[in-house]
């Protein structure tokens, strides 16, 4: 049942990651890997350390111990800038968008195309934003709308369109379906399928097993800062998975 | 002063005095402090000055602290008619001489037990400035029947300002001037003051006299004769 590790296929490999927050031992030596084009569901109870693990990958936190390999090479990720340069994009739990800024300003946040002297190429930004959203099947009225006027699903769409537009190699989705209506959830799951069709690897964190079971090809279950289980979808049913998550949370 | 340094013992050798003022963010008190230090130097004594940023409660605390240090004398700015009655009595009872400076109780010795008051009478200062100004104007042939006096003040409601304007009004009465207005100069910041006064003078072209009670540089606006009197001195 253990997943067989073929290193050269991995886009991401994290080895023996440890992280302390003051006196909280949040990650206790976690190994994690992600294959090219693969979608992994990262599961576990509240406080298991899921967000911490992926925030280390995205440069938001720095690990106290452990190594990260990206695309076969050992890398040091000290900041979100470093992660973005490698092609790691995050759609955060806490919304990776600036609510009062326009769609196009959000999509190009931190990577604005310029015409010279740092002046933004607004026309290019608008056109490419609309194109990126359309590729995802999202038709929005104008690239100038502030993000706060969009629905929850549309907002995740903007964040995902941004990841795809910048040719991410690995997209991290931290609870992208939380607090969304059924219709919006389906929209977002459709966006994630678009990521898969583009051949981009992704990590999908959620508490909703129904959402992740439909989409992911492999599941990693964490509890109290450790990896408990790593299984392929073909080896588990939805019920097995549900039991695994509950059991891991209860072990010692 | 150099020659005095060689004299056997300066007149106030070994004495310690304290100046309790309401002053604060205002260059006026820098000058006073310098003067106090110079005097102390000359007389061979020591002096400390307390500032309270126009906070009456804080100034009272400063006085209490000064009394506790048992200096040889305290000079106090008596900027309130009632607040200082008891603290001064207490200090005197403790055997510390207290005198008033800069501002006095409006009823003088009848209002406060301080040993004496050194400084000008605010009312009389206002009166004298008014007299001088109106006298000059009369010689120039200004018509007093329609005259208007503007009195911008830096700290609206401050005791000394009110008393001073009473003096100005007494002088006005002698010259038969009836129209006057006290205006809020907008504090100590000069751009604000200038903006206020410029606007006021434009809006009130009948203003014949402007008697300013602030530290800001005099403002020259050609309205009638606008004379700006700096009413600041101990």
């Amino acid at each position: 049942m253990e997943y067989e590790n073929r290193q050269n296929d991995d886009i991401v490999r994290m080895v023996n990651i440890e992280k302390w927050f003051g006196r909280v031992y949040a990650l206790r030596g976690v190994d994690f890997h992600l294959k090219r084009g693969e979608t992994v569901g990262l599961l576990g109870d509240n406080g298991a350390g899921k967000s911490t693990l992926i925030k280390i990958l995205s440069g938001y936190h720095v690990a106290d111990k452990g190594d990260i390999y990206f695309d076969g090479k050992k890398v040091v990720i000290r900041s979100p800038r470093d992660a973005r340069r490698l092609g790691i994009e995050t759609v955060y739990q806490e919304q990776a968008l600036a609510p009062n800024l326009s769609i196009s300003r959000n999509i190009f946040m931190g990577r604005e195309p310029v015409k010279g002297f740092g002046i933004m190429d607004k026309k290019l930004m608008d056109e490419e934003s609309m194109q990126a959203l359309q590729n995802l099947g999202l038709r929005l009225r104008s690239p100038d709308l502030p993000v706060v006027t969009l629905s929850g699903g549309e907002r995740q769409g903007v964040a995902i369109a941004r990841a795809i537009h910048f040719k991410a190699k690995c997209v991290i989705l931290d609870e992208p379906t939380v607090a969304l209506s059924v219709k919006e959830v389906n929209e977002v799951l459709e966006f994630i399928r678009e990521i898969q069709r583009e051949g981009i690897s992704s990590i999908f964190i959620t508490h909703n097993l129904y959402h992740v079971y439909e989409i992911a090809e492999r599941f990693v279950v964490m509890a109290r800062g450790k990896k408990m289980t790593d299984v392929l979808k073909e080896d588990v049913t939805l019920d097995d998975l549900s039991e695994l998550v509950i059991k891991s949370a209860l072990v010692e | 002063m150099g020659s005095m340094a060689f004299a056997q013992g300066k007149p106030a050798e070994g004495l310690y005095f304290r100046l309790v003022t309401h002053g604060g963010d205002d260059p006026f008190w820098a000058v006073v402090q310098q003067g106090a230090l110079d005097a102390a130097n000359e007389l061979g004594c020591k002096v400390d000055i307390d500032l309270a940023g126009s906070d009456l409660a804080l100034q009272q605390k400063r006085l209490a602290e000064a009394v506790a240090q048992k200096p040889n004398g305290i000079a106090l700015v008596i900027n309130d008619d009632t607040a200082w009655d008891k603290p001064v009595e207490d200090a005197l009872a403790a055997g510390i001489p207290v005198i008033g400076i800069n501002n006095d109780d409006s009823k003088g010795p009848a209002g406060n037990k301080r040993l004496c008051y050194i400084g000008k009478s605010e009312e009389r200062a206002g009166y004298m400035i008014g007299l001088k100004l109106f006298q000059t104007a009369k010689e120039k042939g200004i018509d007093f029947s329609k005259a208007h006096v503007a009195m911008p003040v830096e700290v609206p409601g401050a005791n000394y300002g009110v008393i001073r304007s009473n003096g100005i009004k007494r002088a006005m009465a002698e010259f038969g001037i009836t129209s006057s207005e006290i205006i809020d100069g907008g504090g100590l910041e000069m751009t604000t003051v200038e903006q206020r006064e410029t606007s006021y003078l434009l809006a009130h072209p009948e203003t014949t006299f402007s008697i300013t009670n602030t530290d800001s540089p005099p403002i020259s606006i050609p309205v009638g004769i606008s004379l700006t009197a700096q009413l600041r001195s101990i």
Binding site: P80, R105, M120 | R196, T198, S199
Partner: protein
């Protein structure tokens, strides 16, 4: 109808409407239409930029999510440096650049303290407000310093900082306009502007997208510092002296101007047009009301009222357009 909606979707529209209304009302109802008299306009234009230029910087900083209360002390501090340099025989131009540099450094200090301690800038700059004022009082002994002999009326530097273009237009207005245009380009067209908005609107997102939010904030603090240095020189040259009471109360007046211009107190929202109009509106209310012979003691009440009403109005419009 659609056009009206579109118009109101800009936050600064309410400021514009109120601004135009005020100008029209004051022009018509002041005795002898003295509001639009050239002497009044020239007097306004000469005086309001002292605070106005600083308010432009404060607006940018507020969009970035921070406050700077220390401007009330940084301004006289720079003014003191400016006067001291000239007394030490440096040319007015050299002294001017030293003053700008000192402003930038004081801004840098504000920025670094705020960013590193992660304390609200309302607190850190309240600290530096009092700190620099204390240092200034001790250092200058609060004594006024005349600089008239170094920048006499008609000298090139005096003309540059406090001269007149013509009877209506004092040079201070031109400086105000120049800074408004520069900051407007920075905020709305330059990529750094997008970083300012993102940092103020959602710092985590901006950070996650690779924007160095700490650096962005520090630079905004420095912009305010430099503008304080500029305004300090402009004011000193006009007054012909340094005075320790320069800048008293500017900190809250500047914030109030920005709020009237539709800048959010929580960051991420605001525009240069709004801030520009806000910086003009307060002195116009002050001036217009006095011209209408409203008792001068009541002016403060009107400005306080206006600030609160603007915040309510902006919140209302925000809810309407969402």
């Amino acid at each position: 109808m659609n056009q009206t909606r579109r118009f109101y979707s800009f936050r600064s529209s309410s400021t514009l409407v109120v601004f135009v209304t005020l100008v029209v009302v004051f022009s018509i109802f002041t005795p002898n239409h003295i509001f639009i008299n050239e002497r009044n306009i020239a007097a306004l234009g000469k005086l309001f930029p002292d605070l106005g230029i600083i308010a432009l910087g404060i607006g940018v900083l507020m969009i970035c999510g921070e406050f700077d209360l220390s401007v009330g002390s940084v301004l006289p501090f720079c003014s003191f440096i400016f006067a001291q340099q000239m007394i030490a025989d440096f040319s007015p131009f050299v002294s001017f650049f030293v003053s700008l540099l000192v402003g930038a450094i004081l801004g840098l200090i504000n920025g670094i303290i705020t960013v590193k301690t992660k304390m609200p800038s309302f607190i850190t700059t309240l600290g530096t407000l009092m700190f620099w004022r204390g240092i200034l009082y001790v250092w200058s002994k609060m004594m006024p310093m005349s600089i008239r002999t170094f920048v006499p009326s008609g000298s090139p530097f005096q003309k540059l900082m406090a001269g007149n273009l013509n009877a209506y237009i004092p040079v201070q207005v031109i400086w105000f306009a120049i800074f408004a245009v520069i900051l407007s380009i920075l905020l709305h067209f330059h990529r750094f502007g997008n970083w300012i908005y993102s940092t103020g609107d959602n710092r985590d997102a901006a950070h996650a997208m690779g924007i160095r939010t700490d650096l962005v904030k520090i630079i905004c603090f420095m912009i305010v510092g430099v503008l304080c240095g500029f305004s300090a020189c402009m004011q000193s040259v006009r007054l012909g002296s340094f005075a320790a009471t320069q800048g008293v109360g500017f900190e809250f007046k500047a914030i109030s101007a920005c709020v009237i211009g539709g800048t959010s107190l929580r960051g991420g929202i605001g525009s240069m047009t709004g801030i520009f109009l806000g910086a003009l509106t307060i002195p116009i209310i002050d001036n217009g009301l006095i011209l209408m012979r409203v008792p001068v003691f009541a002016i403060s009440a009107f400005i306080g009222l206006a600030t609160i009403l603007f915040v309510l109005l902006n919140n209302y419009i925000e809810r309407k357009t969402r």
